[in-house]
């Protein structure tokens, strides 16, 4: 499917720029041109399609679908809906309040809070473009399972007393009926949103792919295998710890990890790292302090963290 881009990258590197094939510079540059073009095409197409779907499912509609849902079905539904809903740290609090006040159970709300940032369209584009559909599918499936299970476990713990009491005071006075969008409006929304995303991440992508290309061309094969190969027990938890403060940089981090995988970092460790980058975020935890006790944030982070570490070990063992 991306064969024409490869031809173009080869032509640009070896014919136009006249770099000798087989050199490190040639390999790095060819890789950079190919990956950058491929990622930007995927980004435009996938974000646009997801935005169109999303225009049918605004957060307010999602909430209506989830309110008073039972455990399990509620957790599954909210995890799936979490994929489609964009997540920004600044929206974490209004989402949390809005869900709980509309009668969405806490456990179901947490499933949403896990799935929404972890499985987002940018991460999906980067995984699909740089790792292929198999790894992208594994990532989405494991992310969903982690979101569903974490929500169920947290719900079972009955953490209501760890949530600030004002959260439960229903303050929704005038739930506004959102106007029905015309197809023209949906397409415009999707176009604007895609453009917003591209503007936000293009620099990270280029830097990420640039450094990735350098690693691809210059770092010897299997260089990292001894430090982060699958037989190295501490690689997975370490990857998770390093990933927590790197939030919102999925666009720059994934190309980097993709190059590292090539040099011997095992796939389970890579998956765990990416999930930690997207799913566990320090700024989000800080903001959640406004609505819940620190203890609950720690429980939340620990459960999701354990899920991610388990996923890492699992895929290190079987892939």
């Amino acid at each position: 499917m991306f064969y024409p881009i490869q031809i173009f990258a080869d032509w640009l590197t070896y014919v136009v720029l006249n770099i000798v094939p087989g050199t490190k510079l040639g390999a790095a540059l060819d890789f950079f041109v190919f990956d950058t073009i491929k990622i930007f095409i995927l980004l435009a197409v996938i974000v646009f399609v997801v935005s169109i779907i999303r225009s049918f499912l605004p957060a307010e509609k999602v909430r209506k679908m989830l309110s008073h849902k039972r455990e399990f079905t509620g957790n599954i539904l909210s995890s799936f809906l979490g994929i489609l809903t964009p997540f920004c740290t600044c929206s974490a609090i209004p989402l949390f309040l809005g869900f709980v006040q509309a009668g969405v159970p806490l456990g179901v709300t947490f499933s949403f809070l896990v799935a929404s940032p972890m499985i987002n369209e940018v991460a999906l584009v980067m995984l699909l473009g740089l790792f292929g559909w198999k790894i992208a599918t594994i990532y989405i499936t494991s992310g969903l399972i982690i979101a569903i299970l974490s929500g169920i476990v947290i719900g079972r713990m009955k953490p209501e007393h760890l949530v600030e009491s004002f959260v439960f005071e229903n303050s929704i006075k005038n739930p506004l009926g959102l106007p029905n969008m015309t197809w023209k409006a949906r397409i415009q929304y999707a176009r604007d949103y895609t453009w917003d995303i591209v503007k936000k991440v293009w620099l990270y992508i280029i830097i990420g792919i640039g450094v990735g290309a350098w690693i691809h061309g210059y770092v010897p094969m299997d260089f990292l295998a001894q430090y982060a190969g699958s037989n190295c027990w501490y690689a997975v938890p370490l990857a998770v710890l390093v990933g927590i403060p790197l939030y919102s940089n999925a666009a720059g981090v994934i190309p980097l990890v993709s190059a590292l995988t090539e040099k011997g970092v095992s796939i389970g460790t890579t998956l765990a790292f990416m999930m930690a980058v997207t799913g566990l975020s320090l700024p989000e935890f800080m903001i959640l302090k406004k609505v819940m006790k620190v203890k609950l944030i720690v429980i939340f982070a620990a459960i999701v963290g354990i899920g991610i570490i388990f996923t890492g070990y699992l895929f290190n063992a079987i892939l």
Partner: protein, 80 residues
């Protein structure tokens, strides 16, 4: 006329506040731009995303920070 920017105090919300201020200035309308960080206000409007731009108490823009030009259009449309 009353124009409000509601947000959680994050960088995105502040950006919307700044752009809204420039939009109001460029439109040369008599309006005060108010910045509200009380999230309950957003929730009570029935919304769940931040930031929100509201004109006379009605949300006209949710969860997005467009450029000044588009904000001008949005405000002008809401006033008309």
């Amino acid at each position: 006329m009353q124009i409000q920017v509601l947000g959680s105090g994050c960088p995105t919300c502040k950006k919307l506040l700044e752009r809204t201020k420039s939009a109001v200035e460029e439109l040369k309308i008599q309006a005060e731009v108010e910045y509200i960080t009380d999230i309950q206000k957003i929730v009570s409007m029935g919304l769940m995303q931040s930031p929100v731009l509201a004109v006379n108490g009605k949300p006209v823009l949710v969860g997005r920070v467009p450029d000044v030009g588009e904000i001008k259009e949005i405000i002008a449309k809401a006033v008309a």
